[in-house]
């Protein structure tokens, strides 16, 4: 059975990638999880400089989901390279570095720095974090901004370049198209949905940041729809995510059009989820006599829909 998939020039042993912001820098899980058994580890978003992020409360639970407003706390790119990357290399992790900037120059500088170090396998361009005002999301919410930042970074790196798209736009597919036009190798989607929760007793917002990003099973059907729409719009590989918690969820995203997936919130609930997902994928492949998992990508069969009963 072949579970491997390709993201541009990068071949990964299976489609399961730990989602950025949900797996620390990967090293936190290195004793509990065989990092080399994952399709990849997308590390916590990095700016050039260290950032402290927002004050707690940073998360709040909602039905079948959670809001977060961490605010991209991070150690900065140089400390990542010197303090975290050596262990990721030693553990043979496939490393997707998620980068964040407030200007195009910062993204370019980050990509340049990371392209020169050993052990970085792909760059995920964070233009979709809903929790910081400056940069990032402003590129991700404008087609010209997305095109500009992707093409600028493209010029300085030959690593697989993967813009991470926000669902907080009218038409995600047009942002996938802008990314493709600008030279991206793949797109990942979706980041979290901008949301909020209020304590009605005190009338205070439950998050210090007032608003935060909704993730978890609650968002999965919307994310699947967005992956499906992007699949119609672009030829690029799509890394799908949003509430994946079971092997069936992985398969749903792949059938909708994803080449690979990321798992985030479910890893909080179960850090040992990875082997369970892999087992589930393998048993599905056996049951359906599928030799190559990548054959499933985009295999949705809309002809099997019910015919209209009554023509209008």
């Amino acid at each position: 059975m072949d579970l491997s998939v390709s993201i541009g020039s990068l071949r990964i042993p299976n489609p399961l990638i730990a989602a950025s912001g949900c797996f620390g820098y990967g090293v936190e899980y290195a004793d509990a999880v065989d990092l080399s058994s994952l399709g990849g580890v997308a590390v916590k978003g990095l700016f050039l400089a260290a950032r402290e992020g927002h004050a707690p409360p940073r998360i709040v639970e909602t039905p079948a989901g959670m809001l977060n407003a961490i605010g991209l706390q991070g150690i900065g790119v140089q400390r990542f390279i010197h303090e975290k990357l050596p262990e990721l290399r030693a553990r043979k992790a496939i490393v997707f570095v998620n980068i964040c900037g407030t200007t195009i120059d910062e993204y370019v500088e980050l990509a340049r720095i990371l392209s020169d170090v050993e052990g970085v396998h792909a760059i995920e361009l964070n233009i979709s974090c809903p929790n910081i005002k400056e940069g990032g999301i402003t590129f991700g919410c404008s087609l010209t901004g997305t095109h500009a930042v992707v093409s600028a970074v493209r010029k300085v790196t030959s690593l697989p370049l993967i813009p991470k798209l926000t669902p907080n736009v009218t038409d995600v597919a047009s942002f996938a198209r802008a990314s493709e036009d600008a030279g991206a190798d793949a797109v990942s989607l979706v980041n979290t949905f901008l949301a909020m929760a209020i304590d009605v007793e005190t009338r205070r917002p439950k998050l210090t940041n007032i608003v935060g990003g909704l993730s978890g099973p609650a968002i999965r059907p919307i994310a699947v729809r967005m992956v499906y729409e992007c699949r119609q719009a672009v030829k690029l590989p799509i890394i799908g995510m949003g509430g994946i918690a079971t092997a069936e969820d992985v398969l749903e995203f792949m059938i909708a059009g994803a080449t690979a997936v990321q798992v985030g919130t479910a890893n909080f609930v179960d850090p040992f989820i990875w082997t369970k997902l892999l087992d589930g994928l393998q048993s599905y492949m056996q049951r359906h006599s599928i030799a190559r998992l990548s054959d499933l990508t985009g295999s949705i069969d809309t002809t099997k829909r019910h015919k209209a009963w009554i023509s209008s």
């Binding site: 936190e28 402290e52 707690p56 998360i59 040992f272």
Partner: protein, 274 residues
């Protein structure tokens, strides 16, 4: 390394309308757990609540031959998850991840160890007391609550032979007022040549007050902090506390993997207690 066990509930003793002691069959966790460490419990089998909850390991349960059999947690019903755990019955199963976090460092004689507990903050001190007794370290428990009815499980410490100093806000047991009152009196009575190390767990204002008292008397004080925690593994960065690094610069520091136990002098109490 933490393990995740689908642990059978082997008992759930309701101490009051709010408190229960939940016993879980988890020998693998009981074997490696150290004082002050915690577990992450999935309080429902479904998605409400979605995330796990952190709980100090309260007791290590043993078989008659002394081999570890499981753990208990001291649960206080404050929300949906803790409410479900309060109601759960023997035979049910609870997904239990652990042991997690930085443990207490037990003091060695001739130093004394003073454990200061506020309410449900008693939870990490049974295992610490056992470790201190095993090392021959003299120890005392300072145990405060709002009223006598909230002073649960003191009998465990009495059986271990640990001297206890009580306080209640209404004066129904021990001295009236906060636990810092008898604590400060005892500290003031100590000779400077007598070494003592404080261990604190309870509500944030209480931990802050104890940390202030300890600092005034120049005594080492370790606090066990708790924040809203998403994963317990260092993955989500939700459980941060303001803690100073070696240079004295404060940073948002994860209480799950850099704590929950911190040297109290590292904590920026003005920020945390805000």
């Amino acid at each position: 390394m933490p393990v995740d066990i689908d642990a059978a509930v082997i008992g759930n003793t309701r101490l009051s309308e709010d408190y229960s002691v939940l016993a879980l069959a988890a020998p693998e966790i009981a074997t490696t757990a150290r004082p002050g460490q915690f577990v992450m419990l999935k309080t429902s089998r479904g998605m409400d609540p979605l995330l796990r909850r952190p709980f100090s390991i309260f007791e290590v349960l043993r078989n008659s031959d002394g081999s570890p059999r499981g753990i208990t947690i001291l649960n206080k019903r404050i929300g949906t998850g803790t409410g479900l755990l309060y109601e759960i019955e023997s035979g049910a199963r609870v997904q239990c991840l652990g042991p997690l976090g930085v443990p207490f460092e037990p003091a060695d004689a001739p130093a004394q160890a003073w454990m200061v507990a506020g309410g449900v903050g008693l939870a990490p001190f049974v295992t610490l007391a056992e470790a201190l007794i095993a090392r021959g370290t003299p120890l005392t428990l300072f145990y405060g609550a709002r009223r006598e009815a909230d002073l649960h499980c003191a009998d465990i410490f009495e059986r271990l032979g640990v001297p206890i100093v009580f306080s209640t806000e209404d004066g129904s047991r021990g001295s009236r007022g906060f636990i810092t009152v008898p604590l400060e009196a005892r500290l003031a009575a100590l000779e400077s040549s007598e070494d003592v190390r404080l261990y604190v767990c309870g509500p944030t204002p209480m931990m802050r007050a104890v940390a202030d008292v300890a600092a005034r008397h120049g005594r080492r004080c370790d606090v066990s902090l708790e924040q809203v925690m998403g994963c317990g593994m260092g993955g989500c960065y939700s459980c941060v506390v303001p803690a100073r690094d070696a240079n004295g610069t404060p940073h948002h520091t994860r209480s799950c993997i850099d704590g929950p136990v911190f040297d109290a002098s590292r904590i920026v109490w003005d920020a945390l207690a805000h």
